[in-house]
């Protein structure tokens, strides 16, 4: 279980958080059909550093951006969205 350093709450267990999506899968409201489909269905799926959107659902309920290594699970930074 990851230990995630929430910028508001400090280091907390992964079970308090919900993974939402990778950062590049966020579909802005202004996105056209092509941009939206690309964001939703084209996955970079990196073997390495990945920026991800997480929700501190059972904590401060803020939306966070994690920079996580998908092989080592090292979490480099956790910042408040955006």
């Amino acid at each position: 279980m990851f230990l995630i350093a929430c910028p508001h709450c400090g280091p907390r267990a992964q079970s308090e958080f919900a993974y939402d999506r990778t950062l590049d899968a966020v579909v802005p409201l202004t996105a056209g059909p092509d941009a939206a489909m690309t964001a939703l269905y084209t996955r970079a799926n990196p073997r390495g550093w990945s920026d991800e959107v997480w929700h501190h659902r059972f904590g401060c309920r803020q939306w966070l951006v994690l920079r996580r290594h998908t092989v080592t699970h090292v979490i480099d930074t956790v910042r408040q969205w955006p």
């Binding site: 279980m1 230990l3 992964q14 056209g32 059909p33 929700h55 969205w81």
Partner: protein, 936 residues
């Protein structure tokens, strides 16, 4: 067979236990294995497939053979390692996999199993006709097995706890104690876990200084640390997270609180997990009496139990020589030491005249003190009778010789316990000198120390060929022989992972702790490759078996999930309804009167709504208070319909996922200038909370709005039926709002918000009151003559009106167009999911579309729709009901190109339930199609 050593005589056998019904006695601190050996019980079980007699092989958790069932009733624990349970007074232990008795086993006598159970036998049974396989299957299930699981519930309590530490130290042998001492001096908060019942590890069998153990314990405690005994670090996960299982009671013991699962987070982890001795591979190496050398030494030194009077030691390393000392000290005889090495340096290291005198005889040196040491000698075969070892054949030079012995202590070297290191993503390095993998690079703050890091004696790898590979066991627990490994190789299994699946090698409760390296060596030999190239199977948690109860903890039975209690739960209970679990809620399904079935009651309740008035608890609906100057803007992002509302008005709405599928539906109401109430489905409440938060915080963070979930703050009662308006007017003394209007009033002294929405198709009102004050409102409505109805009747009513349900018709694969809601979509877009709707595939005329079905007979819910039997499936029934009022049955369904098929005749069939109905496709609206009844 066994004798009582000097340390044993001083201790009274005060503990009574039974093995296969035989009353025996043990001394405090005995493991079951030690106690059985002390009582002369050498035969402990029958092997998994071949029913061969098996005894104790090790003195630790790696034990493959001595598996027993302990305890009675719900406390029964099968497959308990006799080496990993400390005897308590009243312990009941039984042998496994034998019939009719351990000594007289039919499977073994008939020798039925051996030819059937070659490598891959199970897969080979798949060839040929299925009937034959079914016959095999029955035979295999009966013949092969471990202990059966208990059939009754375990009365013991299991719990979870969390712990945090600067350093977690796993293992309290010499390396673990040294690490603990150093950590205590540097002021770290220590958590030390030890799976044994006493600290010390190998110090207990190799002569340690008692004072070291005591001073380390004191240092840990003085530094504010904690020591957990009988606690196994079971799995190592990410970011220093380790799960540990603490045994507060022994298996099968009545204790109240039995086990505790610790969830440990540590800044750094020290693994002092030791090493596991490998057996040697030769014919009949599985006989009771063949044990690892360190196990023989441990039983002698720690428990004063000699595993045999005449002991032969077979080794390829120096460590086993210490066992010779231990055997003699305990009063046994060392018949010979068979050393596979031609010139073991240990024999020169002692300045012993006996060694010098024997130099003229190169084969047999009377060295290591006074023992007969046979250089370059390897065991070829063991022989036994009556489940006991009688003699050992060994090869020396070109000759084979025989030694009489009742115990054969073998050592094939030591395998570091790298499991936890590997769980954590650590790499392994191969060490040729010890013929084993040792921890390499690690991704986490983990250090491995002592013999777990490879600080073990060097070995001479086996080079001689096996004479009898079919009876030379590699995996004892799974009865995998050297011949099985060879067969798997010959049949094309190259990967070690495939070898594991094909032969079952390394499976079972011991997960190949004693067998992995021997298997790899055999595989590497067969393929003329090397062990590091052959590779290892992946180590996965748990390190040793753990009970599901420990994983569940207190979250079991009625506590498996929390129960969400309706504000009106007591009022419902008073009516003794049939309850229906819905998510975490329990809602009344129907309220049968005497003699009524569920269906009868639901029909009556639905009819009373159609003909008079009914009330139903709708408190579980998701409800959000959306407030602020940008409240309407947020709703416009989330809702796919028009949400522009005049003050005091509401409308039906639905939300889309980003891919354009319908996410949820509900109603939205403008309560004040900048305040809206949004309702959505019960089951989607959590998801909608996150969705609203995402829309607001991520997609439109600049909006000035707050979205507060008020699901449980507001209790809701729907009052529906032709009499509903009259009842409400009488109770509030005021005019009721028009359809889709908002009103307010006071009922029985309680302030209520009135929303004139209809789900049933009748004139209806949703009344919302503060959850803690809602009961008088319910009572007043009941007293006014409204009939309480449950969700079964609610289903009948909504199906007739073609209202969709999230999860039923809106199943995550249907669009607004599919569900017949397209005309409500906001044309200007700007809502979540809008940009996905232009995808051409979503306009395909052959998509599943919502239709209605009618039939003179009951339509099976969930059944598939076909033109004629045998055709491809054209759709499925999502919900079915009787038509109320009226005759016949109706259903909602998703049907390929359904809107173009109105009037078609189809078959709704459920082969699994053996039900079918002839149906006619219609529009999904069966009652009051003009919508006259619900309007004011």
């Amino acid at each position: 067979m066994a004798v009582t050593g000097p340390s044993r005589a001083a201790c009274e056998p005060t503990i009574g236990f039974t093995f296969d019904g035989r009353a025996l006695r043990a001394r405090p601190g005995d493991t079951l294995a030690a106690a059985l050996l002390a009582n002369g019980v050498g035969l402990i079980g029958r092997s998994f497939k071949l029913h061969r007699p098996r005894g104790v092989m090790t003195a630790g958790v790696e034990e493959p053979n001595a598996l027993v069932t302990v305890g009675t009733g719900g406390r029964t624990e099968p497959n308990t390692r006799a080496t990993d349970i400390f005897v308590y007074d009243g312990l009941v232990a039984r042998s496994q996999n034998r019939w009719p008795s351990l000594a007289l086993d039919a499977g073994a006598i008939l020798g039925l199993a051996a030819p059937v159970f070659a490598a891959g036998f199970y897969y080979k049974t798949f060839f040929g006709p299925p009937a034959r396989w079914l016959w095999y299957e029955r035979f295999i299930r009966r013949a092969a097995g471990l202990g059966p699981a208990p059939a009754t519930a375990d009365p013991e309590v299991y719990e979870h706890r969390a712990a945090f530490a600067d350093v977690l130290i796993v293992g309290s042998g010499p390396a673990g104690l040294a690490a603990a001492t150093a950590a205590a001096h540097s002021g770290e908060r220590i958590l030390l876990v030890e799976q044994d019942a006493v600290l010390g590890g190998t110090l207990l069998s190799d002569g340690g200084d008692r004072a070291t153990i005591d001073s380390t314990r004191a240092a840990i405690l003085a530094a504010g640390g904690r020591i957990l005994m009988r606690t196994t670090a079971s799995g190592l996960w990410d970011h220093g997270f380790v799960t540990c299982v603490q045994r507060l009671a022994e298996p099968g013991q009545a204790a109240g609180l039995s086990q505790r699962l610790w969830q440990v987070r540590a800044k750094r982890i020290v693994l002092a997990t030791g090493a596991i001795e490998r057996p040697l591979t030769f014919a009949n190496n599985d006989l009771p009496g063949v044990m690892t050398a360190r196990a023989v030494r441990t039983y002698a030194r720690r428990w004063g139990v000699l595993a045999g009077q005449r002991v032969v030691i077979a080794t390829n390393n120096d460590d086993a020589y210490r066992t010779a000392d231990a055997v003699v000290a305990a009063g046994g005889e060392v018949v010979a030491i068979l050393d596979s090495r031609d010139d073991p340096a240990i024999l020169d290291s002692r300045d012993d005249p006996a060694i010098r005198d024997s130099r003229d005889d190169p084969a047999i040196a009377r060295g290591y003190g006074r023992f007969r040491v046979c250089r370059g000698a390897v065991p070829v075969s063991a022989f036994g009778a009556g489940g006991r070892l009688r003699s050992v054949d060994f090869r020396i030079g070109g000759a084979t010789e025989t030694l009489a012995a009742d115990c054969l202590a073998v050592s094939g070297g030591f395998t570091p316990v790298v499991h936890l290191h590997s769980h954590g993503g650590g790499k392994l390095d191969w060490r040729e000198d010890i013929q084993a993998f040792v921890p390499g690079a690690t991704l986490q703050n983990i250090t491995t120390v002592g013999s777990a890091a490879g600080e073990v004696d060097a070995v001479a790898p086996a080079t001689a060929s096996l004479r009898h590979p079919k009876s030379s066991f590699i995996d004892f627990q799974n009865d995998v022989t050297a011949a099985d490994v060879d067969l798997a190789w010959a049949e094309g299994y190259r990967s070690v992972e495939h070898l594991k699946r094909y032969t079952t090698l390394g499976m079972g409760t011991d997960q190949g702790k004693t067998s992995n390296m021997a298997a790899l060596a055999r595989l590497a030999g067969a393929g003329a490759t090397t062990i590091p190239l052959a590779g290892l199977t992946t180590f996965r948690p748990p390190f040793t078996p753990l009970t599901l109860a420990a994983l569940a903890g207190l979250d079991a039975g009625g506590h498996a999930a929390p129960t969400r209690r309706l504000a009106l739960a007591d009022r419902h209970a008073a009516l003794a309804p049939i309850w229906q679990p819905l998510g975490l809620w329990h809602r009344p399904r129907a309220h049968p009167r005497t003699g009524e079935t569920l269906h009868d009651a639901a029909l009556r309740e639905a009819l009373s709504v159609r003909s008079a008035a009914g009330i139903v608890d709708v408190s579980t609906l998701a409800k959000f208070m959306i407030s602020g100057p940008d409240a309407a803007a947020l709703l416009a992002i989330v809702c796919a319909t028009v949400v522009k509302l005049a003050m005091g008005r509401g409308r039906y709405t639905f939300m889309l996922r980003e891919d354009g599928m319908v996410l949820d539906d509900g109603t939205v109401w403008r309560l004040a200038d900048d305040r809206y109430l949004l309702t959505s489905s019960t089951g989607g409440a959590e998801r909608m909370t996150a969705h609203l938060s995402y829309a607001h915080r991520v997609l439109a963070a600049d909006l000035h709005v707050s979205a507060v979930a008020v699901q449980e703050a507001l209790a809701g009662i729907a009052l529906a039926g032709p009499d509903a308006a009259a009842i409400l007017e009488r109770l509030t003394g005021a005019a009721v709002p028009a359809h889709m209007g908002v009103g307010s009033g006071v009922i029985a002294g309680v302030a209520v918000t009135i929303l004139a929405a209809s789900y049933s198709g009748e004139r209806a009102f949703e009344l919302y009151a503060s959850g803690d004050a809602a009961e008088p409102v319910w009572d007043a409505l009941l007293a006014a003559g409204a009939t309480p109805y449950g969700i079964e009747a609610l289903e009948f009513l909504r199906i007739a009106k073609g209202h969709i349900v999230v999860g039923g018709e809106a199943d995550g694969r249907t669009t607004a167009l599919d569900l017949g809601l397209a005309r409500m979509l906001r044309k200007d877009g700007g809502f979540i999911g809008a940009s996905a709707l232009s995808r051409p595939a979503l306009a395909d005329a052959d998509r599943l579309q919502l239709v209605g079905l009618t039939s003179p007979t009951m339509i099976p819910e969930g059944s598939m729709l076909v033109e004629i039997d045998g055709d491809p499936v054209a759709g499925h029934v999502t919900a079915a009901a009787p038509l109320v009022p009226g005759d016949g049955y109706i259903a909602l369904a998703l049907l390929r190109g359904g809107r173009a098929r109105h009037g078609h005749h189809l078959t709704a069939t459920s082969p699994t339930r053996g039900q079918s109905a002839q149906v006619v496709v219609t529009q999904p609206l069966f009652y009051d199609p003009e919508g006259i009844r619900y309007r004011d």
